[in-house]
């Protein structure tokens, strides 16, 4: 595997009594585009700010290029940040903004001029050097902020929701540009965002955070297709989620499960008896047929079909009231609204998620608390 450039080991961050980052362990590899994705307040920005040095972790270790950084000031760390608000210096021209980092490092004036030119052309802002930030549009300011950071050749570039303030079209365009820039420079990008689509399009790997906890880290495909927690399954894309208990394991390795809505089937050999699990299946993998399928007893009524260009999204209401989303490619036959359907899927397409409460139960089992209590009595 690739070499880690940033290592976060067992990091916790408290603001007073508020525990915002919990036991965070994360490795960021050299040259990768890593997104930290999560809803607001999940600790993603705090994590970024701890790497930059604007926040100090309460405990744990952060290393950049193998060196511990907790005693280094932000101006002593070889990382640079692109801020959500751009944070351009309003009293300086674009040229002076971009040159600032080099000036602080006492680089010679002649060299600065050339490198500023290069950085500005890299973000396609040639000839804007004499303007002031107030004279630029939002997208242009964003580019200046990026040029100002990358001119210092940081080993790691930290980006805090840099496209948050831009409109949709410009955002999409900047996403591609940023990705290209990252490939071209070969710098590690750590990109904080709450926009899953953005994370999926741009990243080599995604770290999903929620409530200060790292839920899952992996490639976009892993995150989407093999979510390991209920939160990830629910947060990334659309999904149909069932809470279920194992009934029995079949000879072909598939597992029969009992949910409130009925019987269903998945494929996951790692099972302990009577374990409570979540089963997640994406709408595009969910099928609705006219006759029952072995291993499934999910009967429902089609409520509506919504045509959205490439796909038709159907909603099927099961007998227990649970709504199932089924999306089929436009042009394929669509069940009429009001008709009865049987929901099923290819067992291999469903993901079984072992719930967290279970790991605690497992732990208690392994500790054999029962015996301890019995022995005590």
């Amino acid at each position: 595997m690739a070499k880690a450039i940033v290592e976060i080991k067992n990091v916790n961050k408290f603001y007073g009594d508020n525990h915002v980052v919990k036991d965070l362990d994360m490795e960021i590899y050299e040259g990768e585009f890593l997104s930290i994705l999560g809803p607001s307040g999940c600790g993603k920005t705090t994590t970024l700010r701890m790497i930059a040095g604007f926040e100090q972790q309460t405990d744990g270790v952060i290393t950049v290029e193998g060196e511990r950084v907790e005693n280094k000031e932000p101006f002593e760390r070889n990382v640079n940040t692109v801020f959500q608000s751009y944070a351009l210096f309003p009293h300086m021209t674009v040229h002076d903004n971009v040159a600032y980092g080099l000036k602080m490092k006492k680089v010679k004036k002649a060299e600065i001029a050339g490198r500023v030119e290069d950085a500005l052309s890299m973000v396609r802002l040639e000839g804007f050097g004499k303007r002031y930030p107030a004279q630029l549009s939002g997208g242009q300011r964003q580019r200046v902020a990026i040029a100002r950071a990358i001119i210092n050749n940081p080993r790691v570039l930290l980006l805090d929701e840099p496209l948050g303030a831009l409109d949709m079209k410009l955002r999409k365009q900047m996403q591609i540009e940023l990705k290209n820039l990252q490939k071209q420079l070969g710098i590690t990008f750590v990109y904080v965002t709450h926009d899953q689509e953005e994370a999926l399009t741009m990243s080599d790997r995604i770290a999903v955070m929620s409530g200060g906890v790292l839920e899952q880290i992996g490639t976009p495909a892993e995150i989407y297709e093999k979510p390991t927690t209920k939160f990830v399954a629910d947060f990334i894309g659309e999904t149909n989620l069932f809470e279920a208990v194992e009934a029995h394991v079949r000879d072909d390795g598939t597992v029969c499960l009992n949910a409130e809505a009925g019987e269903l089937t998945g494929a996951d050999p790692r099972f302990s008896a009577a374990e409570l699990v979540y089963l997640s299946v994406r709408p595009e993998k969910t099928l609705a047929s006219e006759s029952p399928v072995t291993g499934f007893s999910l009967r429902g009524t089609v409520r509506e079909n919504i045509y959205i260009g490439t796909v038709v999204k159907s909603t099927v209401v099961l007998q227990n009231g649970q709504e199932i989303r089924v999306s089929s490619i436009a042009g394929a036959p669509v069940p009429a609204a009001g008709s009865a359907r049987y929901i099923h899927w290819n067992p291999g397409d469903a993901v079984i998620i072992h719930s967290k409460s279970n790991t605690i139960l497992d732990l208690m089992d392994s500790l054999d608390l029962g015996a301890y209590v019995a022995g005590g009595a």
Partner: protein
Amino acid sequence: MRKKRKAAAKKYTSRVFSALVYLFLYAPIAVVILFSFNTSRRNVLFEGFTLDWYKQMATNHALLESFGNTLAVAGVSTLIATVIGTLTAIAMFRYKFRGKTIIDLLLYIPVVIPEIVLGIALLSVFSLVHVPLGLGSMIVAHVTFQIPFVVFTVRARLSGFDRSIEEAAMDLGANRVRVLTGITIPIIAPGIVSGAVLAFTLSIDDIIISFFTTGARSTTFPLKIMELVRSGVSPDVYALSTIIILATFVVVLISQISVYKANQRALKSKYKEKQK
């Protein structure tokens, strides 16, 4: 028809009203300027044009000295108050600390307290610790009441300040001192300047606190005039006042022109962007 007449009447009354306001504001000043050129010593009738009072003023050492004292006190106290006030405002903006609300509250006291109370309080402190009264004590006294005004104006400017700008500078390798001198202070400079101008103005025409804290041989210009009023103001005071008015007018004009030009530039760049 009626509507038109009504509109015309409205326009007429608003003009008369504005004219009266300006007359009320500027007539007394005009009188001072006018009588500084009057040949008669008494300011009742304008009897003829003369520049004698300006000549007399130029030789009135007591008057000029008092004016020099005023400038010295105002200059030095403004400098000290601006530095302390600006740093206080930045600290109050940046940090949360114990007793911040109390300090905040205490800052208002010199502003709302009757000047005479502050004057007596300062005088008693000076005599208690045996500070000789003179320009020095007056400067300390002026700094006392100037600081809150500087803090308030600088803080108003800081309220729109994005802290991530400072973080960005640190991120790019600037240490704390360089962030302060190269980023924070230049950005809040307009607030610092207006705070300093306010402090300077307050110091220049302060009478009550100066009265209590001045020494026998360090009169300021306002105090000197107060003294003269008892025996009747001579036209050379008008002459000096006229010069001060003119100087103020020129300063205001220059600052307004520069503000106007800055606004024009901002407008132009906005217009250009729209055209794209």
